[in-house]
Amino acid sequence: MEAPDEELMRAYRNGDAAAFETLYARHRARLYRFVLRSVKSRAVGEELFQEIWLRVIESRARYTAQARFTTWLYTIAHNLLVDHWRKRGLTLVALEGDEAPGSSPDPADQTQARESLERFAAALQALPPLQREAFLLHEEGELSVAEIAAATGSNEGAAKSRLRYAMAKLKAAMSDG
Protein backbone atom coordinates (compact mmCIF):
# COMPACT_ATOMS: atom_id res chain seq x y z
CA MET A 1 0.00 0.00 0.00
CA GLU A 2 1.35 3.40 -0.98
CA ALA A 3 2.01 5.97 1.71
CA PRO A 4 -0.40 8.90 1.60
CA ASP A 5 0.94 12.25 0.44
CA GLU A 6 0.53 13.78 3.86
CA GLU A 7 2.66 11.08 5.47
CA LEU A 8 5.37 11.55 2.84
CA MET A 9 5.39 15.28 3.40
CA ARG A 10 5.75 14.81 7.16
CA ALA A 11 8.60 12.36 6.55
CA TYR A 12 10.31 14.90 4.32
CA ARG A 13 9.81 17.60 6.92
CA ASN A 14 11.70 15.29 9.29
CA GLY A 15 14.62 14.97 6.90
CA ASP A 16 13.63 12.04 4.69
CA ALA A 17 14.69 13.14 1.18
CA ALA A 18 13.42 9.90 -0.37
CA ALA A 19 9.90 10.76 0.76
CA PHE A 20 10.08 13.97 -1.25
CA GLU A 21 11.22 12.09 -4.33
CA THR A 22 8.14 9.86 -4.12
CA LEU A 23 5.90 12.87 -3.61
CA TYR A 24 7.49 14.71 -6.50
CA ALA A 25 7.17 11.76 -8.85
CA ARG A 26 3.50 11.50 -7.94
CA HIS A 27 2.62 15.13 -8.68
CA ARG A 28 5.20 16.49 -11.09
CA ALA A 29 3.41 15.85 -14.38
CA ARG A 30 -0.02 17.03 -13.26
CA LEU A 31 1.34 20.18 -11.65
CA TYR A 32 3.49 20.85 -14.68
CA ARG A 33 0.47 20.66 -16.99
CA PHE A 34 -1.60 22.77 -14.64
CA VAL A 35 1.02 25.51 -14.67
CA LEU A 36 1.89 25.38 -18.35
CA ARG A 37 -1.77 25.54 -19.36
CA SER A 38 -2.29 28.53 -17.09
CA VAL A 39 0.36 30.70 -18.75
CA LYS A 40 1.30 31.55 -22.29
CA SER A 41 4.98 30.85 -22.27
CA ARG A 42 6.66 27.52 -21.63
CA ALA A 43 9.69 29.25 -20.15
CA VAL A 44 7.54 31.19 -17.69
CA GLY A 45 5.60 28.02 -16.89
CA GLU A 46 8.76 26.10 -16.10
CA GLU A 47 10.05 28.91 -13.97
CA LEU A 48 6.80 28.96 -12.02
CA PHE A 49 6.80 25.18 -11.73
CA GLN A 50 10.28 25.23 -10.20
CA GLU A 51 9.33 28.07 -7.89
CA ILE A 52 6.30 26.16 -6.62
CA TRP A 53 8.41 23.16 -5.63
CA LEU A 54 11.02 25.38 -4.02
CA ARG A 55 8.24 26.94 -1.95
CA VAL A 56 7.15 23.46 -0.91
CA ILE A 57 10.71 22.70 0.17
CA GLU A 58 11.09 25.95 2.09
CA SER A 59 7.69 25.66 3.73
CA ARG A 60 8.07 22.07 4.89
CA ALA A 61 8.43 23.09 8.56
CA ARG A 62 5.09 24.87 8.46
CA TYR A 63 3.26 22.04 6.75
CA THR A 64 0.45 20.59 8.80
CA ALA A 65 -1.68 17.77 7.54
CA GLN A 66 -4.92 19.58 8.27
CA ALA A 67 -5.80 19.62 4.57
CA ARG A 68 -4.91 17.31 1.73
CA PHE A 69 -1.37 17.74 0.47
CA THR A 70 -2.76 18.32 -3.01
CA THR A 71 -4.84 21.27 -1.81
CA TRP A 72 -1.79 22.76 -0.11
CA LEU A 73 0.36 22.23 -3.22
CA TYR A 74 -2.17 23.84 -5.54
CA THR A 75 -2.71 26.71 -3.10
CA ILE A 76 0.98 27.54 -3.45
CA ALA A 77 0.65 27.22 -7.22
CA HIS A 78 -2.41 29.46 -7.26
CA ASN A 79 -0.69 32.17 -5.23
CA LEU A 80 2.30 32.21 -7.57
CA LEU A 81 0.05 32.26 -10.60
CA VAL A 82 -1.94 35.16 -9.22
CA ASP A 83 1.30 37.07 -8.67
CA HIS A 84 2.27 36.27 -12.23
CA TRP A 85 -1.07 37.36 -13.64
CA ARG A 86 -1.04 40.58 -11.66
CA LYS A 87 2.41 41.40 -12.95
CA ARG A 88 1.01 41.00 -16.43
CA GLY A 89 -1.86 43.33 -15.59
CA LEU A 90 -4.63 40.78 -15.76
CA THR A 91 -7.79 41.52 -13.78
CA LEU A 92 -8.81 38.60 -11.63
CA VAL A 93 -11.70 39.95 -9.61
CA ALA A 94 -14.41 39.69 -12.24
CA LEU A 95 -16.54 36.59 -12.34
CA GLU A 96 -18.17 34.55 -15.03
CA GLY A 97 -18.96 36.31 -18.26
CA ASP A 98 -17.58 39.64 -17.05
CA GLU A 99 -14.25 38.16 -16.25
CA ALA A 100 -11.23 39.40 -18.13
CA PRO A 101 -10.63 37.28 -21.18
CA GLY A 102 -7.71 34.94 -21.33
CA SER A 103 -5.27 34.63 -24.15
CA SER A 104 -7.60 34.38 -27.09
CA PRO A 105 -6.31 32.33 -29.95
CA ASP A 106 -6.28 33.83 -33.36
CA PRO A 107 -9.85 33.50 -34.73
CA ALA A 108 -8.41 32.55 -38.07
CA ASP A 109 -6.55 29.65 -36.48
CA GLN A 110 -9.66 28.72 -34.58
CA THR A 111 -11.81 28.53 -37.69
CA GLN A 112 -9.13 26.58 -39.46
CA ALA A 113 -8.90 24.05 -36.69
CA ARG A 114 -10.16 20.77 -37.97
CA GLU A 115 -9.56 18.55 -35.09
CA SER A 116 -11.91 18.73 -32.14
CA LEU A 117 -8.91 18.32 -29.92
CA GLU A 118 -7.41 21.44 -31.33
CA ARG A 119 -10.67 23.27 -30.79
CA PHE A 120 -10.75 21.98 -27.28
CA ALA A 121 -7.20 23.16 -26.65
CA ALA A 122 -8.01 26.52 -28.15
CA ALA A 123 -11.13 26.85 -26.01
CA LEU A 124 -9.14 26.01 -22.92
CA GLN A 125 -6.63 28.71 -23.74
CA ALA A 126 -9.47 31.14 -24.43
CA LEU A 127 -11.00 30.67 -20.98
CA PRO A 128 -10.68 33.52 -18.50
CA PRO A 129 -7.82 32.74 -16.12
CA LEU A 130 -9.92 31.97 -13.05
CA GLN A 131 -12.29 29.71 -14.97
CA ARG A 132 -9.40 27.92 -16.58
CA GLU A 133 -7.72 27.58 -13.23
CA ALA A 134 -10.87 26.09 -11.71
CA PHE A 135 -11.11 23.59 -14.54
CA LEU A 136 -7.42 22.65 -14.34
CA LEU A 137 -7.57 22.26 -10.57
CA HIS A 138 -10.54 19.98 -11.08
CA GLU A 139 -8.92 17.90 -13.80
CA GLU A 140 -5.22 17.93 -12.93
CA GLY A 141 -5.36 18.41 -9.21
CA GLU A 142 -8.50 16.31 -8.84
CA LEU A 143 -9.75 18.84 -6.35
CA SER A 144 -13.37 19.02 -5.30
CA VAL A 145 -15.28 22.29 -5.52
CA ALA A 146 -14.66 22.89 -1.82
CA GLU A 147 -10.97 22.23 -2.28
CA ILE A 148 -10.83 24.54 -5.29
CA ALA A 149 -12.39 27.24 -3.14
CA ALA A 150 -9.83 26.60 -0.40
CA ALA A 151 -6.87 26.57 -2.79
CA THR A 152 -7.92 29.78 -4.53
CA GLY A 153 -9.03 31.63 -1.42
CA SER A 154 -12.58 32.04 -2.65
CA ASN A 155 -15.92 30.67 -1.55
CA GLU A 156 -17.54 27.51 -2.79
CA GLY A 157 -20.21 29.38 -4.73
CA ALA A 158 -17.62 31.29 -6.76
CA ALA A 159 -15.53 28.17 -7.33
CA LYS A 160 -18.56 26.20 -8.45
CA SER A 161 -19.65 28.99 -10.77
CA ARG A 162 -16.22 29.30 -12.40
CA LEU A 163 -16.01 25.57 -12.94
CA ARG A 164 -19.49 25.42 -14.39
CA TYR A 165 -18.80 28.22 -16.88
CA ALA A 166 -15.49 26.67 -17.90
CA MET A 167 -17.02 23.27 -18.52
CA ALA A 168 -19.91 24.74 -20.48
CA LYS A 169 -17.55 26.64 -22.81
CA LEU A 170 -15.35 23.63 -23.35
CA LYS A 171 -18.35 21.42 -24.13
CA ALA A 172 -19.54 24.03 -26.59
CA ALA A 173 -16.14 24.01 -28.27
CA MET A 174 -16.28 20.22 -28.60
CA SER A 175 -19.82 20.33 -30.04
CA ASP A 176 -18.86 22.86 -32.65
CA GLY A 177 -17.17 20.14 -34.58
Binding site: Y12, N14, A17, Y32, I57, L163
Partner: protein, 232 residues
Protein backbone atom coordinates in the same frame (compact mmCIF):
# COMPACT_ATOMS: atom_id res chain seq x y z
CA UNK B 1 -22.52 19.34 -10.63
CA UNK B 2 -20.39 19.57 -7.54
CA UNK B 3 -17.66 17.00 -8.00
CA UNK B 4 -19.19 15.21 -10.94
CA UNK B 5 -17.04 15.09 -13.97
CA UNK B 6 -18.04 15.00 -17.58
CA UNK B 7 -16.27 11.87 -18.90
CA UNK B 8 -16.25 13.24 -22.44
CA UNK B 9 -14.66 16.43 -21.31
CA UNK B 10 -12.13 14.60 -19.21
CA UNK B 11 -11.30 12.29 -22.11
CA UNK B 12 -10.72 15.23 -24.42
CA UNK B 13 -8.61 16.95 -21.89
CA UNK B 14 -6.47 13.83 -21.37
CA UNK B 15 -5.87 13.64 -25.07
CA UNK B 16 -4.16 16.99 -25.15
CA UNK B 17 -0.42 17.11 -25.59
CA UNK B 18 1.10 15.01 -22.79
CA UNK B 19 3.28 17.60 -21.16
CA UNK B 20 6.09 16.46 -18.85
CA UNK B 21 8.67 18.51 -17.01
CA UNK B 22 12.12 18.22 -18.58
CA UNK B 23 14.63 16.00 -16.81
CA UNK B 24 16.89 18.95 -16.10
CA UNK B 25 14.12 20.63 -14.17
CA UNK B 26 13.46 17.43 -12.21
CA UNK B 27 17.15 17.18 -11.38
CA UNK B 28 17.34 20.76 -10.08
CA UNK B 29 14.26 20.43 -7.89
CA UNK B 30 15.29 17.08 -6.42
CA UNK B 31 18.80 18.37 -5.72
CA UNK B 32 17.33 21.35 -3.87
CA UNK B 33 15.08 19.03 -1.89
CA UNK B 34 17.95 16.74 -0.92
CA UNK B 35 20.13 19.65 0.09
CA UNK B 36 17.34 21.09 2.23
CA UNK B 37 16.63 17.73 3.88
CA UNK B 38 20.00 17.72 5.63
CA UNK B 39 19.35 21.16 7.13
CA UNK B 40 17.02 21.74 10.06
CA UNK B 41 13.56 22.36 8.67
CA UNK B 42 12.56 25.99 8.48
CA UNK B 43 13.63 29.28 9.93
CA UNK B 44 11.46 28.79 12.98
CA UNK B 45 13.43 25.87 14.31
CA UNK B 46 16.68 27.73 13.68
CA UNK B 47 15.29 30.76 15.44
CA UNK B 48 14.13 28.83 18.49
CA UNK B 49 17.45 27.00 18.74
CA UNK B 50 19.32 30.28 18.68
CA UNK B 51 16.97 31.83 21.22
CA UNK B 52 17.38 28.82 23.51
CA UNK B 53 21.17 28.99 23.22
CA UNK B 54 21.18 32.72 23.94
CA UNK B 55 18.97 32.22 26.98
CA UNK B 56 21.24 29.46 28.24
CA UNK B 57 24.35 31.61 27.83
CA UNK B 58 22.65 34.48 29.60
CA UNK B 59 21.53 32.25 32.47
CA UNK B 60 25.01 30.79 32.90
CA UNK B 61 26.61 34.23 32.81
CA UNK B 62 24.12 35.53 35.35
CA UNK B 63 24.67 32.55 37.63
CA UNK B 64 28.44 32.98 37.46
CA UNK B 65 28.08 36.67 38.17
CA UNK B 66 25.89 36.03 41.20
CA UNK B 67 28.25 33.31 42.41
CA UNK B 68 31.17 35.71 42.17
CA UNK B 69 29.34 38.48 43.93
CA UNK B 70 27.79 36.37 46.67
CA UNK B 71 30.93 35.83 48.76
CA UNK B 72 31.35 39.58 49.09
CA UNK B 73 27.77 40.01 50.12
CA UNK B 74 27.70 37.00 52.37
CA UNK B 75 31.09 37.61 53.88
CA UNK B 76 29.16 39.46 56.49
CA UNK B 77 28.60 42.96 55.28
CA UNK B 78 29.63 44.04 58.74
CA UNK B 79 33.02 42.43 58.24
CA UNK B 80 33.79 44.27 55.08
CA UNK B 81 32.37 47.43 56.49
CA UNK B 82 34.23 47.17 59.72
CA UNK B 83 37.31 46.32 57.76
CA UNK B 84 37.23 49.89 56.68
CA UNK B 85 37.51 51.16 60.23
CA UNK B 86 39.87 48.43 61.29
CA UNK B 87 42.75 50.05 63.05
CA UNK B 88 45.43 50.70 60.56
CA UNK B 89 48.81 49.29 61.32
CA UNK B 90 51.69 51.64 61.01
CA UNK B 91 52.69 49.87 57.84
CA UNK B 92 49.36 50.50 56.16
CA UNK B 93 49.61 52.82 53.22
CA UNK B 94 47.12 55.33 51.96
CA UNK B 95 46.33 53.41 48.74
CA UNK B 96 45.37 50.43 50.87
CA UNK B 97 43.00 52.57 52.87
CA UNK B 98 41.54 53.88 49.65
CA UNK B 99 41.06 50.37 48.38
CA UNK B 100 39.29 49.44 51.58
CA UNK B 101 37.05 52.44 51.25
CA UNK B 102 36.23 51.39 47.70
CA UNK B 103 35.54 47.88 48.90
CA UNK B 104 33.18 49.27 51.50
CA UNK B 105 31.52 51.35 48.82
CA UNK B 106 30.99 48.38 46.63
CA UNK B 107 29.70 46.32 49.54
CA UNK B 108 27.28 49.07 50.39
CA UNK B 109 26.01 49.09 46.82
CA UNK B 110 25.81 45.34 46.46
CA UNK B 111 24.22 44.43 49.74
CA UNK B 112 20.67 45.50 48.93
CA UNK B 113 20.80 43.64 45.66
CA UNK B 114 22.23 40.31 46.73
CA UNK B 115 21.54 40.14 50.45
CA UNK B 116 18.19 41.70 50.97
CA UNK B 117 17.59 40.10 54.38
CA UNK B 118 16.88 42.44 57.27
CA UNK B 119 20.14 41.67 59.03
CA UNK B 120 22.13 42.62 55.99
CA UNK B 121 20.02 45.70 55.49
CA UNK B 122 20.69 46.76 59.05
CA UNK B 123 24.36 46.11 58.50
CA UNK B 124 24.27 48.20 55.37
CA UNK B 125 22.63 50.98 57.28
CA UNK B 126 25.32 50.78 59.93
CA UNK B 127 27.86 50.77 57.16
CA UNK B 128 26.52 53.99 55.82
CA UNK B 129 26.67 55.61 59.21
CA UNK B 130 30.15 54.34 59.83
CA UNK B 131 31.35 55.25 56.44
CA UNK B 132 30.38 58.87 56.87
CA UNK B 133 32.63 59.10 59.88
CA UNK B 134 35.44 56.98 58.59
CA UNK B 135 37.85 59.74 57.63
CA UNK B 136 37.55 61.30 61.06
CA UNK B 137 38.00 57.95 62.77
CA UNK B 138 41.00 57.09 60.72
CA UNK B 139 42.58 60.39 61.64
CA UNK B 140 41.89 59.79 65.30
CA UNK B 141 43.25 56.28 65.16
CA UNK B 142 46.37 57.36 63.39
CA UNK B 143 46.90 60.08 65.93
CA UNK B 144 46.44 57.74 68.87
CA UNK B 145 48.64 55.13 67.32
CA UNK B 146 51.39 57.62 66.72
CA UNK B 147 51.22 58.65 70.35
CA UNK B 148 51.30 55.09 71.54
CA UNK B 149 54.10 54.16 69.21
CA UNK B 150 56.14 57.01 70.56
CA UNK B 151 55.41 56.14 74.18
CA UNK B 152 55.34 52.37 73.92
CA UNK B 153 57.32 51.05 71.00
CA UNK B 154 57.06 47.56 72.31
CA UNK B 155 53.33 47.73 72.70
CA UNK B 156 53.05 48.85 69.11
CA UNK B 157 55.14 45.92 68.01
CA UNK B 158 52.92 43.58 70.02
CA UNK B 159 49.86 45.08 68.48
CA UNK B 160 51.24 44.65 65.00
CA UNK B 161 51.95 41.04 65.86
CA UNK B 162 48.44 40.61 67.16
CA UNK B 163 47.09 42.04 63.93
CA UNK B 164 49.17 39.62 61.95
CA UNK B 165 47.71 36.69 63.91
CA UNK B 166 44.22 37.85 64.65
CA UNK B 167 42.75 34.51 65.57
CA UNK B 168 45.24 33.78 68.30
CA UNK B 169 45.38 37.36 69.55
CA UNK B 170 41.65 37.81 69.45
CA UNK B 171 40.83 34.39 70.79
CA UNK B 172 43.14 34.37 73.82
CA UNK B 173 41.68 36.02 76.88
CA UNK B 174 44.03 38.27 78.73
CA UNK B 175 45.71 36.60 81.70
CA UNK B 176 45.78 39.86 83.62
CA UNK B 177 44.31 43.29 83.07
CA UNK B 178 46.30 44.73 80.23
CA UNK B 179 46.81 48.16 78.91
CA UNK B 180 43.24 49.49 78.49
CA UNK B 181 43.95 51.10 75.13
CA UNK B 182 45.33 47.87 73.73
CA UNK B 183 42.50 45.93 75.25
CA UNK B 184 39.95 48.20 73.57
CA UNK B 185 41.75 47.84 70.28
CA UNK B 186 41.56 44.10 70.63
CA UNK B 187 37.84 44.25 71.38
CA UNK B 188 37.31 46.51 68.39
CA UNK B 189 39.24 44.02 66.31
CA UNK B 190 37.01 41.17 67.49
CA UNK B 191 33.96 43.25 66.66
CA UNK B 192 35.28 44.11 63.25
CA UNK B 193 35.74 40.43 62.52
CA UNK B 194 32.17 39.68 63.42
CA UNK B 195 33.06 37.82 66.56
CA UNK B 196 30.47 39.65 68.53
CA UNK B 197 29.99 37.15 71.35
CA UNK B 198 33.69 37.28 72.18
CA UNK B 199 33.72 41.03 71.83
CA UNK B 200 30.79 41.29 74.23
CA UNK B 201 32.55 39.08 76.78
CA UNK B 202 35.75 41.05 76.49
CA UNK B 203 33.93 44.33 76.74
CA UNK B 204 32.17 43.15 79.89
CA UNK B 205 35.51 42.10 81.34
CA UNK B 206 37.05 45.39 80.33
CA UNK B 207 34.30 47.36 82.03
CA UNK B 208 34.72 45.26 85.11
CA UNK B 209 38.45 45.92 85.13
CA UNK B 210 38.25 49.58 84.16
CA UNK B 211 34.76 50.74 85.15
CA UNK B 212 35.67 54.40 84.88
CA UNK B 213 37.75 54.31 81.74
CA UNK B 214 36.53 57.13 79.47
CA UNK B 215 35.50 56.02 76.00
CA UNK B 216 35.29 58.38 73.08
CA UNK B 217 32.20 58.11 70.90
CA UNK B 218 34.23 56.59 68.14
CA UNK B 219 35.81 54.00 70.41
CA UNK B 220 32.45 53.19 71.99
CA UNK B 221 31.04 52.60 68.58
CA UNK B 222 33.92 50.41 67.62
CA UNK B 223 33.80 48.20 70.68
CA UNK B 224 30.03 48.11 71.05
CA UNK B 225 29.28 47.77 67.38
CA UNK B 226 26.50 50.35 67.45
CA UNK B 227 26.37 53.74 65.82
CA UNK B 228 27.83 56.50 67.85
CA UNK B 229 25.40 58.71 69.69
CA UNK B 230 25.01 62.25 68.52
CA UNK B 231 27.93 64.53 69.17
CA UNK B 232 27.88 65.96 72.67
Amino acid sequence: MDDERDPRLTKHYRELEPLEPPRELDRKILAAAREAAVRPAGRHRWYYSLAAAATLVFAVALTLHVERERPDAEMSPTASVRGEIKPATPAESKPAATAQAKSADSAREEIPRFAPDPQAAAAASRTEALRSEAPQMRAEQAERRAERAAAEPRAAADQAKAMAMPSRAAGAPPAAPENPARWLERIAELRSRGRHAEADRELAAFRKAYPDYPLSNVMRERVEGTPAPAAQ
